[in-house]
Symmetry: C2
């Protein structure tokens, strides 16, 4: 790998944290005592399924940029009736929405980030807002140098501005930065902006039952987890 | 102190890092081998003296917002002729300007920040740009949760937007945030936005010879250093 790389940027949902089982757990903890018995993983999947369409409203210029927390709340209100969850009070809805601040990392992530930080600047370049990224970092011990991504850029990935604003914040050219993600479309968009790409496979992101397919695209590095990525980058 | 405080924001130049002796040292290391023998502390003072007037151009809307690194370079080019330093090549000027990325912290800062981080979210709210803040954090082991401040706000302190954008990034009301600084005017501006204030005295910021005067304003907390601030905040 070229020694010119100075910074590694990370996708977060799916790549670093297991949103699916975390959201299922949090939803169960909040809603079960209220008498609801949902398919909690299906609830997590349904909530996540609203993620791209909601961001597309912003990316397309139909609504102004807002924090992902705001979109998550909007999406939550869309799916609750589908799961026959009646009117929740504002505090309960807020607590449920904050489940996205309480996601657990895959077990390799913190150790891998500490290794990478010795050699590179590291930052999340996620669609999540700053406070969400801080909450996940504090919960899971992610030693970020800075929180970059959508809230700095005022737009959502895969719009070029998000990747480019991260490079600019660190005074780096795109070719000096690597985007690391479990999602090929994120990496393809980063590569189109000139960034290097690191694929981190997370076959369990959508559950063991889901059929995982290795990406057909090629990336500068592919790794099974963040510790292996650190090893391949000499960190 | 009210237990409602969730985040502590820090001024950096002077409050956390000793810009004066660091800049003098860096300038000497770069310029002395080229045959210059300046009063290095006077050079640091002269460079710093251009700081507020340059930012005032931005705050007043006369020039667009830019990173502090850019203003530092402009200011450097102003003062070099005054010290009879001839034409430096671009790499040397850049290296000299990057002296601001190599400032040393006062000895209490890293330990104090680690203590505060156990209880509060912590971030710099400085006029320095993100890459400058990251460089100082990596050099001095500042465990920031995020890098907030001028580059997020698109303006310079003491403009209200800088303090308020930091609170908003953390989803907090101003009264849930404390601004900590060695400079009364910074704290007065933060208090006008509704933030709590923590004064950290740095009588040696401008050298031992300079006459230090305790501020006449009163603040929510006053401390002799960041460790004492942590102790007073129960961290």
């Amino acid at each position: 790998m070229p020694s010119s790389i100075k910074a590694i940027f990370f996708d977060v949902f799916g790549t670093l944290v297991d949103w699916r089982s975390s959201i299922a757990r949090e939803a169960q903890q909040i809603l079960e005592p209220l008498g609801y018995a949902l398919d909690w993983l299906a609830f997590a999947d349904a909530w996540r399924a609203e993620y791209q369409p909601a961001m597309e409203e912003v990316r397309g210029g139909h609504i102004p940029f807002c924090k992902l927390d705001v979109l998550h709340m909007h999406n939550l209100e869309q799916i609750l009736p589908r799961f026959k969850v009646g009117k929740l009070d504002a505090a309960t809805r807020h607590n449920l929405n904050m489940a996205w601040h309480r996601l657990d990392a895959w077990p390799d992530v913190s150790r891998g980030l500490y290794r990478l930080k010795r050699k590179f600047m590291i930052a999340p370049v996620s669609n999540g807002n700053i406070s969400l990224m801080v909450a996940l970092a504090r919960r899971n011990d992610f030693p970020w140098d800075a929180i970059l991504g959508s809230e700095i850029a005022g737009d959502f990935k895969p719009k070029p501005r998000v990747y480019l604003s991260a490079c600019e914040a660190f005074d780096l050219k795109p070719a000096q930065c690597m985007m690391a993600a479990a999602h090929p479309n994120d990496l393809v968009a980063a590569a189109a902006c000139g960034l290097k790409t690191g694929y981190v496979s997370r076959p369990n992101e959508k559950g063991r039952a889901a059929e995982y397919r290795a990406p057909k695209e090629t990336f500068d590095i592919s790794a099974d987890d963040v510790e292996q990525l650190a090893g391949k980058l000499g960190g």
